[in-house]
């Protein structure tokens, strides 16, 4: 790891800790910094509400937000590397579309929120398997075929979502489906953390181990295979990890757009394309970004803003800035 990367990594870890702490302090319910420390250090009854809000509301949702940011950023990076296309996002193979259908079905059936997550995860994963199956029908192993299959299956899932919405009661479940689709960490509990943390943690650990090798995979089949990599195995392993990350995150937070597209671009602007450098920075930057988004979504209004609204606005602005910077770089 070079000096520049190390500096950015250390700085971003520091920022992550600051932002994480800020997320525990800042919110719709005002807690002063002295009260914050009294609430978490002492057991005084006078600070029961503050303590409860910090430990039962803000802590789990901040962790889930961080993990979601990490998961979606990493999975966006992986898809962009494997498919050699910087405009791909985690939903390329239809994970988010499938997860949306799963969640919608669970909501229409009136199931509890844990089952909404389970359905979302399962259908997200099934959608990716369906995409791979459809790609095999074309009998063409190129990445383009997989992308095309993803578009087809994703389109089918979007249509299916419309059908599910049609059957939803417009006064009850339809609004719930719409809100879920826009993303929220409002229902996050420590149970979510216990499920999401091992998944994201293990995937990140595996990716850090493989980080240098992923660069070779990113060269494409011809070069990777002739250099000695079992390209098909690694491609599907990487897609599998990315899909697992995306499906898990979407299952617990709903559909959150832009982050999987924008964070890898920001990171590459700073450290270039080497996944040894970009993976660790996607972890920190993704976590920071999502926690900031969550703070913005929950702190200023009585009702929480949907996450996609905040990521959409921020993401669009950031992406335009990236394009301007890239254009200036290319001009030089």
């Amino acid at each position: 790891m070079n000096k520049r990367t190390l500096i950015f990594l250390l700085a971003s870890i520091f920022c992550f800790l600051i932002v994480f702490s800020l997320a525990l302090i800042v919110g719709k319910y005002s807690i002063t910094i002295p009260d914050f420390f009294k609430a978490i250090i002492t057991n005084e009854e006078a600070y029961d509400t503050q303590r409860s809000i910090i430990l039962n509301l803000r802590l789990p949702r901040t962790i889930v937000a961080g993990l979601t940011g990490i998961g979606l950023s990493i999975s966006g990076l992986l898809y962009q590397e494997v498919f050699q296309n910087k405009l791909t996002s985690p939903d390329l193979l239809g994970v988010s579309s499938g997860a949306s259908v799963g969640a919608a079905i669970a909501i229409v059936l009136g199931l509890s929120s844990i089952f909404v997550s389970v359905f979302a995860f399962l259908l997200g994963a099934i959608t990716v398997l369906l995409t791979i199956f459809v790609a095999k029908v074309f009998k063409n192993k190129s990445s383009f075929t997989l992308i095309l299959a993803g578009i087809i299956v994703g389109g089918f899932m979007s249509a299916s979502l419309s059908v599910v919405k049609y059957f939803a009661d417009p006064t009850t479940t339809l609004a719930s489906i719409t809100y879920w689709l826009m993303g929220s960490f409002e229902n996050s509990t420590m149970e979510y953390v216990y499920i999401l943390l091992p998944i994201v943690g293990l995937c990140c650990a595996l990716l850090l181990i493989l980080s240098w090798r992923i660069n070779v995979v990113a060269l494409g089949q011809e070069e990777a295979q002739t250099k000695g990599i079992n390209y098909t195995f690694y491609k599907f392993l990487i897609i599998g990890i990315a899909t697992l990350l995306t499906a898990s995150c979407v299952a617990f937070s709903g559909v959150v757009s832009w982050i999987g597209l924008v964070i890898p671009h920001i990171v590459r602007l700073i450290v270039g394309r080497d996944t040894r450098r970009s993976i660790p920075l996607c972890i920190t930057f993704g976590g920071i970004f999502m926690i900031i988004v969550d703070i913005l979504a929950r702190s200023f209004t009585k009702s929480e803003m949907p996450l996609s609204a905040v990521t959409g606005i921020l993401g669009t602005v950031i992406f335009v800035i990236i394009l301007i910077i890239r254009r200036k770089e290319n001009a030089h």
Partner: protein, 255 residues
């Protein structure tokens, strides 16, 4: 004999025409072999079959007497390295990082290049005169420089055989000269080079073994002197072909 190709045939899919039709040839160690022919005669397909990127339908390719179909991807990559005709996937990689990817088959999945390997990158870059390119991105260097960098990566991969698919097709005259001269130098160091080209001048320049191909078949194989003549080439390139002294205009080539 290093490579022995026997009765090799290939078609991309059932119902499609045969692209490689019953090829038989041998390649000796330490030689340069040029696969010469028109576009679409099967040169690239043959290179890919040798590289293991395609599987033949019939016939075998033996390396030191061992059928390559029984060789793993990793082992094959220790025998053959490959320079593709075009690759834009690596545009954003720095040259110094790209060169290290040649070491991947000698590393475990959790490893990245060692200090010794990084020193080797510097040494090879020095030898090939590309040190000034190390901190540039692959997409920002010229076509010729890129080919040289790719060949350097193959040298670092340390395979006995280097396969090159039309290495000079997109290059200007100066870069063609650079690349072909490099290949001569690399062959002199003991490597076996197999390259495909549609330009007889390149075969002539390299003055080495030539396999003349047409429609997936070998028309003739032999030395450059045997193949690069009007009689042999007119059957492939048409009756308009002639030597430079016969031209009514000045043709520029390179020494």
């Amino acid at each position: 004999m290093l490579i022995d190709v026997k009765n090799l045939s290939f078609k991309y899919s059932k119902g499609l025409p045969t692209v490689i039709d019953n090829l038989n040839f041998e390649i000796k160690e330490g030689t340069i072999t040029v696969l010469l022919g028109l576009n679409g005669c099967g040169k690239t397909t043959l290179i890919k079959l040798l590289a293991g990127l395609l599987d033949s339908n019939e016939g075998i390719i033996e390396y030191d007497g061992v059928d390559l179909k029984k060789t793993s991807i990793k082992d094959r990559s220790k025998k053959f390295s490959y320079v593709p005709q075009k690759n834009f996937a690596g545009d954003d990689f720095f040259v110094k990082d790209y060169l290290t990817y040649g070491f991947v088959n000698s590393l475990k999945f959790y490893e990245s290049p060692s200090k010794e390997q990084l020193i080797k990158v510097d040494e090879v870059s020095n030898e090939l005169g590309i040190t000034h390119l190390l901190d540039k991105k692959m997409g920002k260097i010229s076509g010729g420089e890129r080919q040289i960098v790719t060949i350097a990566s193959c040298i670092l991969q340390d395979t006995p055989i280097i396969l090159l698919d039309e290495p000079t097709s997109a290059l200007d005259l100066k870069n063609q000269s650079l690349v072909l001269s490099l290949l001569k130098k690399v062959a002199n160091s003991g490597k076996t080079i197999i390259l495909s080209t549609h330009n007889p001048n390149h075969a002539s320049f390299l003055n080495t073994n030539v396999i003349l191909m047409s429609d997936g078949r070998i028309i003739k194989q032999g030395s450059a002197n045997d193949i690069i003549n009007k009689e042999m080439l007119s059957g492939i390139y048409g009756n308009n072909i002639c030597y430079a002294e016969e031209l009514e205009y000045k043709e520029v080539s390179f020494k």
